[in-house]
Structures are given as C-alpha cells and as structure tokens.
C-alpha cells in the first residue's frame, strides 16, 4: 500500500470499519465478544431453558459446548491438514486449482477511490 | 378414376417406379430425370401411405396379378407388416431423392445421371416388390431386380473412388450367392408342396410334415436371406459397398435394403415356416442368436477403430442388424415388436447419419474422421444432426434408439434372459465410443490449415433434418410406430404356429 492508509481510505465506502483489521481492532472485537458472551450466559439464567436432553440443563451448556467444539474442530482440521494438504500442481497442469480464472468471465475494475 | 386407382394400389406401388425407370433413362438430362424421379417417389410414397392406412385396421389386401386364381397366379398381399415396411422404403426414397441432387451432381458425371436415377428407381421397384409380393418366386425376381440395380449404383461410386468397382463386384458375388441359396430353398419347398404362394406354402408345409427336404429348404433360405440382410458373419460385402457407393445411395440402402431382407426373413420364419417343428426354433436360437450377439459387439468394436465415417456407420449398421435379429430369435411378441420397430427406427437414424456423411463429403471432400477436425464450427447444422443421430444410435431416451432398446431389453427380461439384456446395454456403451470419436473430432479438434468448408446446401440439410426430426418425434411420441409394430408382430405371431404358443 502506498501513502497513509488513513488519508487514502477516508473516501472509501466502507471506511466506517477502517482499522478493524489492525491488532488493536482485533482486541476491541475480542473484548466486545467476551462481554456479549458473558451477557448471554447470564441471560440464560433468567429463565428456565427447555431442552430435549438432560445435558442441556447444565449451566450455559451451549456456550461452553460451542466454544470447546469450535476449538476442537480447529485443531482437528489443523492436524488432518498435515496429511491432506498438497501443492497446487498436485493434479498436474490442466487443473482448475492451478489456473487463473479467465479474464473474459470477469469484470475486474479497481475502486476509483 | 379414383376407384380404379384404389383397386389397383398394390400393383401401382411397384409398377409406378418400374414404368418410371425407363422413362427416366429416356429423359436424357440429369436435372430432368432427377425431378421426374423425385415426383415418382413422392407418388409412390403416397401409395404406400394409402396402403398403410387401409391395412392399419387389420384388413389384408389381396391383389391378383393378371387376374389369375390365387395359388396359381402371382398374388400381391398387403398386411400390417409389409405395409409398414413399404412405408419405410418409399418414405426413405422420397426423402433421399430430394437430397440426392447436389451430391449426385458432385459425384456422378452429368451424362450418366439419367442412368443413375433409372437404377435408383429400379432399386426402389425391386425393394417394394420384395415387400409387397405374396409369391416366393416373385420375391426372388424382385430380389434380383433390386440387387442388380444396387450393384450398378454401388459401382457408380467409381467416379469418385475406383474401389467402388471391387466393392460392387464382391457385393455382386455375395448377393448372387445369397439369391441362389434363396431360390434353392424355394425350390425345395416347391418340391414338397408344389406351390409358391406364401400363404399356400404355410398351409401345405404343415400338411406334408417334417422332412429333410424341408430342413434343407429352411437352412438355404435362412442363409440366403442372411446374406442379403448382412447377418454376421455374412456381412463382409457390406462395409465396402456402403463406404464406396455414392453418398445418396448409401443413405438409401442403409435405410431400406437390409430392411426389406429382414422383412423377407420375418415373413418366411413366421408366416411360412411358422415354427411347427422344433428344429426351426432350435436352429434360430443356436445359430442366429449367438451370431446376433457377436455382431452387436464385434461390429461395434470394429466401428470404433474405423477412420472412414461411412465405413464406421456401415459397421454400426451390422451391429444394429444384430439387434433386429436378436429380437426375432426371442420368438415372442415383444421381441418381434422390438425388431419391427427397430426396422423403422434404425432406418431413420441411419439414413440421417449417412446423409450427414454425404454432406461432409460434399463440403469437406472427405469423410475421414481424422480430417473432420473442427467441422462442427464450419458446418454447425450438419454436425448437430450427426450429434442427435448419434444419440439415437446410442439409444438415449427421447430418441427412437431408446424405444427399440427398451422393447428389446423388455423382451429379454420377459424371457428371463437377463444376461442378454445386459449385453444389449453393454453394446450400447460401445456405440457411445464410436459416436464420441466423431463428436470429439468435430468440436474439440482444430480445423486443418487452409481448408474452407461451407455449410451443406439446404436441399441436403432439410431431408437430413426431417429424418432427425422423425427420430426425435417418434422417440418422444412412439405411439404410432410402436402400435404399428406391435400389431404387425401380433399378426405375425398369429400367422405362425409356434409350438409352445399358448
């Protein structure tokens, strides 16, 4: 990128969110999420949650279950990836993995801003 | 006047092209004789339609030649079966002749064209005569008329390629052997029964009982007609004859010649011999059935390796004849329906495909698959016709090919012969390969450098697409063809005395 991102991007349509992809933005998002989670977990105790199975009666079951499974899936994928990932030219030339999308099918235009 | 014509329809069917043939030669100029021949075939077709309409309900028309009493004189006998075949033959002729003008002008020298059309009309005469007559010896006569005309037609391909002469010669020898066997067989039947009328023969064969003369006659007729209809391995004359004949002739022969022979086979097997004796069915099932199955595979595989499109289609025809014979050997109504409906279906499909080959020959000067690269872009309509025709050959649903295969598989399953059903399907896969080779060349391979190919003229495209249209129309709406075939089949079964018929 050339020039200062701030000045260059002011005129961009999505500039409201500018900075969200910086480390600071990420921290803010994470903290907001933590707050929301805490709020929802608390809200779960305000009324009785009807479930189909006993396990659902555990406090904030959906919360921690979701959290754990998500982390678990991520790690599982990481491990499986070691075995399944290959170079792009694995299936040789003439594979769509390797080739660029033909320009005739595209309408590539850069933003004016 | 109308009543006169109506009363003499069966005679007119044959006499019209017969009288027209010498007139055609006398006209003397290519264009004039072409126009005249066209006109004649249209009228002939109209006569066939009238006969078909008259017999559709089940009436049998019996016409006495020269007014002689029936077993003595020659009888022309039209029932549902041969009315259907007559329709195929005269219909193909009426479509091929309009197609023929441009391609014949390109392949035959101008001064020979009147004679070419004369031979063409004679060939039509012969084929119609074979189909319509109810007299065994008369069949032989018309067989010879059509064959001699065909030899001449095939040989006329020599203006393009000299090999047509050897092809015609081989065809002549084999055709003559076939006709001779046939007439020997007929002679043996005459020895036993003293009659030549087919209906009369059927009755008297039963009266006289089994004898070795009868068996001899049966085999000679089977092999003789087998030669004419290119039953594997008696097909050896066919590939070259089809490949080197003028394109219009190939299209016409592919649609009609073998079909008329198949009709004779059906007529003799069911009406005349009628399977009163076990040896008849046994022979059919032990000889013809395996040969038909081998034909389905061997000829298809050969087709896969062919480079000449016409030769490839010729081998495919041999495989298709395998299907027709297979249906016959089932000896059931469904099997016969499959055979008869495939007579029609294969006629329209193959005529269209050979016409496409003719268009390629006219525009590209070749029908060698390896030289047809990229032709799909230069001749889109012609190539599209090939694709649709090819799909029908494979037997894809919504095409006539599917209808035939459906009935055939159904017939095999009815008998519990599921291995045969599987083989029918497996051999269809082979058709995919040889059709695909052409499609691949036409659409996916680059055009040869510096070749200019124009789309075929409308006079050739329209008849081709009419055939294609028919193969789609009757693939979707098979009511007319399958009902007609079914009725013909039930009439045949009724006329036979199959031993185990309930």
């Amino acid at each position: 990128m050339t020039g200062s991102p701030e000045t260059q991007s002011k005129s961009m349509p999505g500039s409201i969110l500018l900075g969200i992809d910086t480390a600071r933005g990420g921290r803010i998002v994470t903290w907001c999420l933590l707050l929301i989670c805490a709020g929802l977990a608390a809200a779960g105790f305000t009324g009785h949650l009807h479930g189909y199975f006993e396990i659902e009666e555990l406090p904030a079951f959906y919360g921690w279950f979701g959290f754990l499974v998500a982390i678990g899936l991520g790690i599982a994928a990481k491990i499986i990836g070691i075995f399944l990932k290959r170079k792009e030219d694995y299936y040789g030339a003439g594979s769509t993995n390797l080739e660029e999308h033909p320009a005739s099918d595209l309408g590539m235009e850069a933003s004016d801003a | 006047m109308m009543s006169l014509i109506e009363a003499n329809l069966p005679a007119l069917q044959v006499v019209l092209p017969l009288v027209a043939a010498p007139l055609c030669a006398l006209l003397g100029r290519g264009d004039r004789s072409w126009a005249f021949a066209c006109l004649v075939t249209f009228v002939t077709f109209a006569v066939s339609v009238a006969l078909f309409a008259e017999t559709y309900a089940g009436t049998i028309i019996s016409y006495r030649m020269g007014g002689w009493e029936i077993p003595l004189g020659i009888e022309y006998r039209v029932d549902r079966l041969n009315a259907f075949v007559l329709l195929i033959i005269s219909g193909s002729a009426a479509l091929v002749l309009p197609y023929a003008r441009r391609i014949v002008a390109a392949e035959i020298p101008a001064e020979r064209q009147p004679l070419f059309y004369t031979a063409f009309l004679l060939c039509i005469t012969g084929l119609l005569g074979i189909t319509i007559t109810g007299d065994a010896f008369n069949i032989f006569v018309f067989l010879e008329i059509s064959s001699l005309a065909t030899y001449a037609l095939v040989a006329s391909g020599s203006w393009v390629n000299k090999r047509a002469l050897t092809a015609a010669y081989n065809y002549l020898i084999m055709g003559t052997v076939g006709a001779t066997f046939f007439v020997i067989g007929v002679g043996m039947l005459y020895m036993i029964t003293g009659t030549l009328n087919l209906a009369d023969l059927a009755v008297r064969i039963v009266e006289h009982g089994d004898s070795s003369t009868l068996r001899m006659g049966f085999v000679f007729i089977l092999i003789g007609i087998g030669l004419k209809l290119a039953m594997f391995p008696l097909h050896l004359w066919l590939p070259n004859a089809y490949a080197y004949a003028p394109s219009a002739v190939t299209a016409f022969l592919a649609a009609t010649a073998t079909k008329a022979a198949v009709y004779v086979m059906l007529r003799f097997m069911f009406t005349v011999f009628g399977f009163d004796y076990e040896f008849q069915a046994d022979t059919l099932r032990m000889v013809v059935l395996p040969l038909a199955v081998i034909a389905m595979f061997a000829a298809s595989i050969v087709a896969i390796f062919q480079d000449n499109l016409k030769r490839m289609l010729a081998y495919s025809s041999i495989a298709q004849i395998g299907y027709i014979l297979l249906g016959l050997t089932f000896l059931t109504e469904t099997g016969l329906t499959a055979s008869i409906v495939h007579l029609f279906n294969h006629a329209v499909t193959k005529a269209a495909l050979f016409m496409v080959a003719g268009c390629f020959v006219l525009s590209a000067g070749t029908c060698s698959i390896s030289k047809l690269g990229g032709i799909g872009r230069d001749m889109p309509w012609t190539t599209a016709a090939f694709v649709v025709g090819g799909l029908s050959l494979i037997g894809l649903p919504l095409t006539v090919g599917f209808i035939s295969k459906w009935y055939l598989v159904l017939a095999a399953l009815e008998l519990g012969w599921w291995p045969v059903a599987l083989m029918i399907m497996a051999s269809s896969l082979l058709a995919i390969i040889y059709v695909w080779r052409v499609i691949e060349a036409a659409y996916l391979q680059p055009a040869p450098e510096g070749v200019v190919r124009k789309e075929a003229p409308l006079s050739m495209l329209i008849p081709t697409w009419i055939f294609i249209g028919l193969s789609i129309w009757f693939g979707i709406n098979a009511m007319l063809t399958s009902t007609a075939a079914g009725r013909a089949a039930s009439a045949l079964i009724d006329s036979s005395h199959i031993l185990w018929k309930e």
Partner: protein, 564 residues
Amino acid sequence: MPEYLTPALAYVAAALLVPFVPKGALRGLYLAIVPLAGILIFWGLTPGTYNAFNVMGMQIGLMRVDALSQLFGLAFSVAAILAALYAWHLRDTIQQIATLLYAGSAMGAVFAADLITLFVFWEGTAIASVFLIWARRTEGSFAAGMRYLIVQIGSGVILIAGIVLLYRETGSIAFTAMELGSPATWTILAAIGIKCAFPFLHNWMHDAYPSATVTGTVVLSIFTTKLAIYALLRGFPGTELLIYIGIAMALFPIVFALLENDLRRVLTYSLNSQLGFMVVGAGIGTPLAINGAAAHAVASIFYQGLLFMSVGAILFRTGTARATALGGLYRTMPLTMIFCLVGAASISALPLTSGFVSKSMILSAGGYEKMFPVWIALLAASIGAILHTGLRLPYLAFFGSDGGLRPKEAPGGMLAAMGLTAALCIAIGVMPAAFYALLPNDVPYEPYTFSHTIVQLQLVAFVALAFALAVKRGLLPKAERGIVLDTDWIYRRLLSAILGSIGRLIAGLWKGAGRMIASSLNWGAGIVYHLHGPRGPFARTWPTGAMVMVVAFLLGMTLVVTYI
C-alpha cells in the same frame, strides 16, 4: 390450464428463443421473467396429477402438484429469477440457454409424478448444467466438466437401471415413497445419493462447482443437490440409514471447509454439510423432520446462494477467490460484505434469519424422537458451520490480513440479486409463520421461544469468541495456497496412476518383445485391437473367395445344427 403445459416445457421453449432476444437489458429481463411465467403455470393448481398419459403401458405424469412439489418449484423459480438478476451483466448466450434448460429440467424433475419423467429431467439437469462449467473455457474446466458429466450421467444410468428393476418388480413406475430392501430401491437410492453428494459419492461437487464460471457456480449451487434432497423426501422418507449417512455428511466436510483456501470450495463443503442436515431430516421422517428438511432445503437455496453470490462478486471484481490473495475487502465492497454477512448469519442460524427457523426444526425433530447421538452430532455440525462459513469465510475475504486489493463494488445486477436474496433470508427469519404455511406437513412449530433464541445466541457468540481466540493463537489451519486431498484422489491420481502404469506396461510390451510381463488387460486389449482394428480380420476387406468360404461354412454348420 392448457394440457401439456408444464413449467419444464415453458423453460425449454424459452431457452430455444433466447438467441432471438437481443442481448442486453431486454435479454436480462426476458431471463428473469421466464421463471415468473413458470410459477404462474403451477401456482394455484389444486393438488393432483396433471398431464398424465399412457405410454407403452406405463403411466406417465408430467405434473404432480402437491405441497412438497409446489414448495420446491417455488423456491427453484425464485432462485432462478435471482440468478438471472445476478447474471444481468452476462453476455454469454450459451450460459443463458444452459441456465434456462438446467432450471427447466430441475422444475420438470420436481413435478414428475413418475420415475421415467424423473429420469429424463434428471439427465437433463446433468447435461444442461455441464455447459456452465465448460463455459469457463479453460483446459481445467473442460476436464472438470467431463468428470462432472461422467458422474452425473452415471447417476442417471444407475437411476434408469433401478427404475427398470422396480418396474420388473412392481409393475409400476410411479414416483412414491419406497422401502429399502430390494435391489431396485437400493439402486435408486444410490442414484439419488450421487446427486445428493453422500459421503464418498460427494466429490464431483467440490471438483466441479468451483470450476464453473462466476455466475455458473451460483446457478449450480441452487438446483442439483436440492433436487436430490427433494427426491429423498419424496422417495425415501423415514429410511433409518439416511440418518447415519446424513450425520457423516454433516460432519466430515467441516474439516475440509476449514482447510480449503479457495472460498468457492469452502462454500461447496459447507453446502455439503448443510445437505447432511436435510438428509438426516429425511431419515428421521416424522412430519416435523420432513418439514424441517424441506424448509432447510429452501432456506439453504437462498442463503447458500447468497454466499456463493458474494464470493462470486469478489471473484468477478478481483479475479480470484483464493483466501490467500484476498482480505480487507470491506473497504471498497461494503455492500457485498453486508450481504455476505447476512448469508453467514443465516448459515449460522442466528435468530431473525432463515437458517434459524429452518435448522432448528431438524434439531427439534431429532430431540423429540430422543435421538441423542443424532442431536449432538448435528449440534456439532452447526458449530462447524458457524466456524467455517459463518466466521472464517467473511473474515478471510473481507477482514483478516489486508490483501491490498481495492476492487470496485460489485455491479448493479449482482448487488440487486444479493440484496433481494438477503432480504428474503431475513424475511423468512422474521416471518416464519408465512414460510411454514408453505411446508408439506401441517405441524405447529414455534421457533422463537425464549430458550431457543437464547441458546442459539449463546452458541453463536461463544463460537465467535472461540474463533477470535483461535485466530489469535493460531489454532486454526492457516490459509495457504494449495489443495486438499479428497476422494477425487481415487480417480484423479490412483486410478490414473493405475491406468498409466497399465499403459506403460502395454507400451513396454509393444516395444520389447522380450519382456514377458503380460497383464491380462493388455492381452485382452491387444486381442481386441488385433481382431477388430483396421487391419484385423473383422475389419479387413476379405477376398471374395474367402467370403464365399465363410458362407459355405455357415451353411454347413447350420445344416448340422438343423439335423441334430
């Protein structure tokens, strides 16, 4: 309504006329109106079978109208309109015709009352849709299209084999619920399973869809698989086996979706996983489960379509859908981002979106039947969906590390299509009652209970938290250029390796006569070529004498047979 008029025929007729409509706005309008006309044909008909006639002794019915077929017909039609809007910029007649034929075939299959009609349109969808892949016009897309076509046609062939067997067995070709047990029904299930992307039969989808054109992928994602779901709901409701298949189907693609770099591939895996939910629904088979599966199919047509549209828009503007090249697009494509987020919210089943009101029905159906393993597995699959498509996909495309691309916002047609689709996703989520009224079974269901809403919010929020942490700590697979092996390895590598070695073997044999390693295959192929090749005895031009000898031999043999 005139006889013989079915939506399918309307589409086909319209497709034939496409070349005669001038390109541009007029054609765009034409393509969008055709599905509308299609709706008019079937909407408002009283349930029953129309256009029935007898062919070769079999009862053919072109139009079976009931709640299920109307629901799918409507969803397909609306999706087709949206796809036409999305492709407004397109000037490729082949794709436009293919789209109409494809949509028409799918409509035809949905309204088919008998298996033969189903089969015809089944093959129709295969043949029409492959042109959307080939329209990319590259070597790779041609090969991928070929593989796709082989699988799809194969599915059709298996289907017709099953139909023939069924006809032999029962004498009927009506398309109604079947019981697994006979070879016929197993075969038919296998055919549907291919189209439905059952595990191990799934790979055609991940191979072919991302190889299509920008608009082609969107169109492809709508019809084929949903048609298969429809066929399952119609043909095999309550088949227990489907539950297990569905669970496997919902779970295994999660890993692939997390690993893939190509965002269109991520979406095909996520689609595959969503299909798993519907298969489970069909397998449970209670009225609620059937409703849920149907509802989820319809909802997924739209939210999955929306996601495909947004990724397509990115591809259209940037020329790539690889996560490694993207990132930070929120700056210049904010509308696309918003629409993508609506889709992501829907697939995450966030309340007020369509995913919430449809997915929860399937989970509830499992819950009511006290199928704990089913329920917990689907819950895990939901978490996976939130993770890979709800969060990872928009993150990689629009946020994440800035790829430096500053493309223009998507063109108007795409934005309109995405906007309408997004609105539809939200409308279904906000007004579930109107949506439920369209479902086949009349089962009361209330998605917006306090507990449902709160637990779903909890789920999404905590997974989002987990995602944020995982991104920070590197607990997720890194997006990197490359591919992920799937079962296509079997035919793209293993099989071609085997064939290749056989080929080498044959070549070796051909050359070195001394090498005596003869594989039977080579032997067979050699014999066949030897016999049937252009110089083989079957194809050679024989001398006349030899021909006559053959005749004489056959005559002799036949005589012998006759006298035995």
